[in-house]
C-alpha cells in the first residue's frame, strides 16, 4: 500500500457529498425518528382503515422486516445477497406446510421455522463465504432459483398452485396489522442493536476491510456466517408473517424480482442505516400503489435508480452515521 492522503480513506469519502445532502442527513439524524415512525404506523389505522389500505400497510410492514434482515447481510457485513427471497420462501413454506399438514397453530411452527432457516443459511453460506464476495452474489441468486423451482416441483409444497388455507394469527385485520407492526418494530430494533453489538462492529470491520479485520483477529468466516444466518432468520420470520397475512402462498411470490426489490429498498434507503432501510422499504412497497399507471416503467426506473444511486449517492437517502467515522 502506498502512502495515501487521509481524505481518500473510505470513511471520509462516504461523509463527503453535496451541501444539500448533508443538510438532509442532519435533519433526519434524530434519535426520536424511530419512535415517530412507530407512532405513525400505530396511528395510521385511525386515519384510513379500509380493508385494502390495511392490507397494503401490513404488506409494507412485512417488507420493512425483510429489508431490515437483508440490511444485516448487505448493509452491515457488505455481502451481496441476491436470493434473499429464498429465506422468505423457506420461512413461509415451512410454517405453511406444518400448519396445514399437521394442523398446528401458526405460532407452534416458529421453532421449526427458525431451525430450518438456520440450516438453509448454513447450507448456502458455508461453502460460499470462504470465497470472494462476488461469488456469493451469484450463488445466492442461483439458490433463490433452486428454492423457487423446488417449491414449484414438489408435491408437499403444493406445486405451482402453492399452499392455501394457512391459519391466520387472528381474524381481525386491524389486530393483525398491530401485531405485525409490533413484531416488525421489535425485529428492526433487534437488528439495529445487533449492528451496534460486538458482533456488529466486527461486521462493519469486515465490510470496510476484510483483510485488516482478519489481521486484527476477527474470525471473518464465522462472523460472516453469523451475519448470513441472522439475515436468514429475519427473512424466515417475515415469511411466517407473510403466510399468516395472505393465508395462501405460491412460488410466484418468491421470484428474483422480490429479492431485487428488497435489495433496492436497502440500497435506496442507505446500506447499514436502520432508519434509511425502513424508509426505503416503505417507499418501495408503497410506490406501486401510488404509481399504478406507470407499472410498465416501474422496474426499468428501479434499475436506472440503482445505477444512479451507486454513482451519485452510494450512501443512500438516509445514510448511516457512525460515531467512529467522525473521529
Amino acid at each position: 500500500m502506498s502512502v495515501q492522503t487521509p481524505t481518500s480513506t473510505p470513511t471520509r469519502r462516504r461523509r463527503k457529498g453535496t451541501a444539500l445532502g448533508r443538510a438532509i442527513t442532519r435533519t433526519f439524524d434524530n434519535r426520536w425518528a424511530g419512535l415517530a415512525a412507530l407512532a405513525i404506523a400505530l396511528l395510521a389505522p385511525f386515519v384510513i382503515a379500509t380493508p385494502y389500505a390495511l392490507s397494503v400497510m401490513t404488506s409494507a410492514a412485512i417488507f420493512v422486516m425483510l429489508a431490515a434482515g437483508l440490511n444485516i447481510v448487505v448493509g452491515y457485513c457488505g455481502l451481496l445477497d441476491l436470493g434473499y427471497a429464498a429465506f422468505f420462501a423457506v420461512g413461509a413454506y415451512t410454517s405453511g406446510v406444518l400448519s396445514t399438514r399437521f394442523d398446528l397453530p401458526l405460532l407452534a411452527t416458529l421453532p421449526a421455522v427458525i431451525v430450518v432457516t438456520i440450516i438453509a443459511g448454513i447450507v448456502i453460506g458455508a461453502p460460499t463465504l470462504r470465497l470472494r464476495s462476488d461469488y456469493l452474489a451469484i450463488v445466492t441468486l442461483g439458490f433463490g432459483e433452486i428454492i423457487r423451482i423446488t417449491a414449484n416441483n414438489l408435491e408437499i409444497t403444493g406445486g405451482p398452485s402453492g399452499i392455501y388455507g394457512i391459519p391466520g394469527l387472528t381474524d381481525n385485520a386491524v389486530v393483525f396489522y398491530y401485531l405485525t407492526v409490533v413484531v416488525v418494530a421489535v425485529a428492526v430494533a433487534g437488528a439495529a442493536r445487533l449492528g451496534r453489538s460486538r458482533l456488529g462492529r466486527a461486521w462493519r470491520f469486515i465490510r470496510e476491510d476484510e483483510d485488516a479485520a482478519e489481521a486484527m483477529g476477527v474470525h471473518t468466516y464465522r462472523v460472516k456466517l453469523a451475519a448470513y444466518i441472522a439475515g436468514a432468520i429475519w427473512g424466515g420470520l417475515a415469511g411466517v408473517l407473510f403466510a399468516a397475512h395472505l393465508s395462501a402462498i405460491s412460488p410466484g411470490s418468491f421470484t428474483f424480482l422480490q429479492s431485487a426489490l428488497v435489495l433496492m429498498a436497502v440500497v435506496l434507503g442507505g446500506m447499514g442505516s436502520t432508519p434509511g432501510v425502513v424508509l426505503g422499504a416503505i417507499v418501495i412497497s408503497l410506490l406501486p400503489e401510488v404509481l399504478r399507471d406507470f407499472a410498465d416503467y416501474r422496474y426499468f426506473a428501479f434499475g436506472v435508480l440503482l445505477i444512479i444511486f451507486m454513482l451519485v449517492r452510494p450512501q443512500g437517502l438516509w445514510p448511516h452515521r457512525s460515531r467512529e467515522a467522525s473521529a
Binding site: 470465497l131 442461483g142 483483510d211
Partner: protein, 297 residues
C-alpha cells in the same frame, strides 16, 4: 446415449459463447457483469428487429441473411457493452466491490425492463427459422442447422482465442489482467482495452442471442436471466478468467445438464445445474483449468 452427448454439446456451445464474455471481463477487471445475460437477450431482440425490417426472403436465402444479421447484431450488442461499461462501470472501478455489483444488478434490471417497455411483455416469434434436414450419426439425430450453428460458435471461439493469445491487443488484455497500474505505465491505454474487451464479450453474447432466437424460435425479455446464471456456472466449472477453460466448462455444463435431465427429469434441470455450481465452488473454486489466484493486499 450419443443423442444425449450431442444435445449436451449443442446447448453447451451456447453456454460457452455467453460464458466467454463473463470470463473475459472477470479475468481483466474482476467484475461479475450481471447484465451480460441481458446483453444476450438484447442481441436476440436486435436480430429480431433487423429480420423484421428486411421482410420475407426465399427459404434458400435464409442462411446467408441470418449470418449477415448475426454480424450486424454483434456490432450492435458490442456497442451496448461498451456503453454499459462507460456509463455504469468505469467510474466505479476503484469503488468498493459491493457498489460495482449493485450497479451491475441495476444494469441488468434496466436492460430487462427497458426491452420489456419497448417490445412488450409477451414472447416474440422469430421470423426466420432454419429448416433442418435430419442426419443420423451413430444413433443420434442431428439437424443441419444445429451443425451450422455449432460451426459458427466454434469459429467465433477459435477466433477469440487466437486474438487473445496471439495478437498485440490480446497481450494488452492479459497484461491488464495481471496488473492494471503497471500496464498503464507501460503505455497501454487501459480504458480503451477494457472497453474493447466489453465489446468482444458482448458481441459474442449477441451472436449467441441471435442463434438462440433462430434455433428455439421464441424470445422474451427474461431469456437472459437464466442463461446468465448458467454461463456463470460454465465459467466457474472451467475456471473463470481462463478462455479455453471457459469453453470446456460450457460444453461440460451442457453435457451435465443433458444427462441430468435424462436421469432426474426436465423440471429439475436448473436445480441440477446450480447444484453443480455450488459443488464446484466448494470443492474446486478455481475450476478445472483455472489457476490459483492469490489476493494481493
Amino acid at each position: 446415449m450419443t443423442q444425449l452427448i450431442w444435445n449436451g454439446l449443442f446447448v453447451g456451445s451456447f453456454y460457452a459463447l455467453v460464458a466467454l464474455g463473463y470470463s473475459m471481463v472477470y479475468g481483466i477487471i474482476k467484475l461479475l457483469n450481471f447484465a451480460h445475460g441481458d446483453i444476450y437477450m438484447v442481441g436476440a431482440f436486435a436480430g429480431f428487429a433487423i429480420l423484421g425490417a428486411t421482410g420475407g426472403v426465399s427459404p434458400d436465402m435464409q442462411l446467408p441473411l441470418l449470418l449477415g444479421v448475426l454480424v450486424v447484431t454483434m456490432g450492435f450488442t458490442g456497442m451496448c457493452g461498451v456503453l454499459l461499461e462507460r456509463i455504469a462501470y468505469r467510474r466505479l472501478r476503484s469503488a468498493p466491490r459491493l457498489s460495482l455489483l449493485i450497479t451491475a444488478v441495476g444494469a441488468s434490471f434496466s436492460l430487462e425492463y427497458g426491452v420489456r417497455v419497448i417490445a412488450g411483455p409477451d414472447p416474440q416469434v422469430y421470423p426466420v427459422r432454419l429448416g433442418g434436414t435430419t442426419i443420423h450419426v451413430l444413433g443420434a439425430s442431428i439437424t443441419v442447422q444445429q451443425i451450422v450453428l455449432m460451426v459458427v460458435a466454434v469459429a467465433l471461439m477459435v477466433a477469440l482465442n487466437l486474438l487473445v493469445t496471439r495478437s498485440r491487443e490480446g497481450r494488452a488484455m492479459r497484461a491488464i489482467a495481471l496488473d492494471p497500474r503497471t500496464s498503464a505505465l507501460m503505455g497501454i491505454n487501459v480504458n480503451a482495452v477494457i472497453a474493447r474487451t466489453f465489446f468482444l464479450g458482448s458481441a459474442l453474447a449477441g451472436a449467441a442471442g441471435v442463434m438462440a432466437g433462430a434455433y428455439y424460435g421464441k424470445i422474451d425479455f427474461m431469456m437472459g436471466f437464466l442463461i446468465g446464471l448458467k454461463a456463470f456456472t460454465a465459467a466457474v466449472i472451467g475456471g473463470i478468467g481462463n478462455i479455453p477453460g471457459t469453453m470446456l466448462g460450457g460444453l461440460l455444463l451442457g453435457m451435465l445438464e443433458s444427462f441430468g435431465t435424462y436421469w432426474l427429469g426436465g423440471e429439475w434441470r436448473d436445480v441440477f445445474a446450480f447444484g453443480v455450481l455450488i459443488l464446484f465452488l466448494t470443492v474446486r473454486p478455481t475450476g478445472l483449468l483455472g489457476e490459483r489466484v492469490t489476493e494481493r493486499v
